[in-house]
Symmetry: C2
Subunit: 192 residues, 2 copies
């Protein structure tokens, strides 16, 4: 997605430790006009899949998922990190290791909100090692629901998450795939 | 907001401990069509305030804030709970005690995303004891920015948060104010 790549080149920052900061428009401050273009693109890609539910994970996936959901006329469910007293005991759960925070979370979705007839589009902002996505796929499949596709905004193509998820037989589409980046000169190379 | 009150009566559940579960449409599964009606109502209320930024807090405020932002043509910034390696040292921070989770969080916003010229609308799903809102107001004022108003979806009118925040001289508008609820018979009484 050309608009997104241009924005990453303009406002993204490469930091040491393979960190790509896009917090001025994607995951801390959020450019809602850009999110609408992202949502339209996901709809274009997944138009034929009869998606009836969008699943994401808190926190930074939620905004993109909600804007995207407008193009599918579907509700959004977000998976929650760690148990809350507001969640009933009846949950699907899995463990996810966060690349960003270097720790392991319990991630849950109430059983009320994933059902066998659901045709789910999973949306998230980043794909790195694929742990979060693998966990979300597991939650959907635990419910007997179908993962129709996965829409990612930025994939780090030099990490193994994309390969891992595509090997699970799921259609994964990333709007920008970063194949290389360099903290010294700030350069970013996208996959064509 | 009549549509919201009707939805709370239809799909909300009163649990012991003053918990109102609205997780089927507001803060776990999210009804984006309802969110659009909420966003329009916030725009109607705050149309004259020249809002240029919406601030919320992760996680359950993000979806409502993003949909609402479409009516203000503004970006959204969400305050983050606890330090992440992706956040620069340059942050505004405060401590917030969560009613839901019974613990205290450090809450931060990057200094890049709150500036003295910002006219901020704060959006959140729930208002109970007001700690989260007081923290967000403090973050905005730390930046020298202006809180033009606060839009809440559900206020628990029998807790003291509404009084606390209104006494700070901020315009606070809640789309539904619950004055009483009863876990035994499931009844919910709204303020007129």
């Amino acid at each position: 997605m050309k608009l997104l790549q241009e924005r990453i080149l303009k406002d993204g920052n490469v930091k040491s430790g393979n960190v790509l900061k896009v917090d001025s428009f994607l995951n801390h401050q959020m450019d809602i006009e850009l999110f609408n273009e992202i949502g339209k693109e996901f709809k274009r890609i997944f138009a034929d899949y009869n998606i009836n539910k969008i699943l994401t994970i808190e926190a930074s996936g939620i905004g993109i998922a909600c804007i995207t959901a407008q193009y599918f006329n579907s509700p959004v469910v977000f998976a929650k990190k760690a148990q809350s007293i507001n969640i009933d005991g009846a949950v699907y759960s899995t463990k996810i290791e966060s690349f960003t925070h270097k720790k392991t979370y319990d991630v849950i979705v109430s059983k009320k909100f994933l059902n066998p007839e659901d045709r789910v589009l999973i949306i998230d902002d980043f794909l790195a090692n694929g742990c979060a996505l693998a966990g979300l796929i597991e939650l959907v499949r635990s419910a007997g629901a179908t993962v129709e596709g996965i829409g990612i905004v930025v994939e780090k193509g030099f990490q193994n998450g994309g390969e891992l998820i595509r090997s699970m037989g799921v259609r994964l589409e990333s709007l920008a795939i970063v194949d290389a980046m360099n903290a010294d000169d700030g350069s970013i190379t996208f996959r064509n």
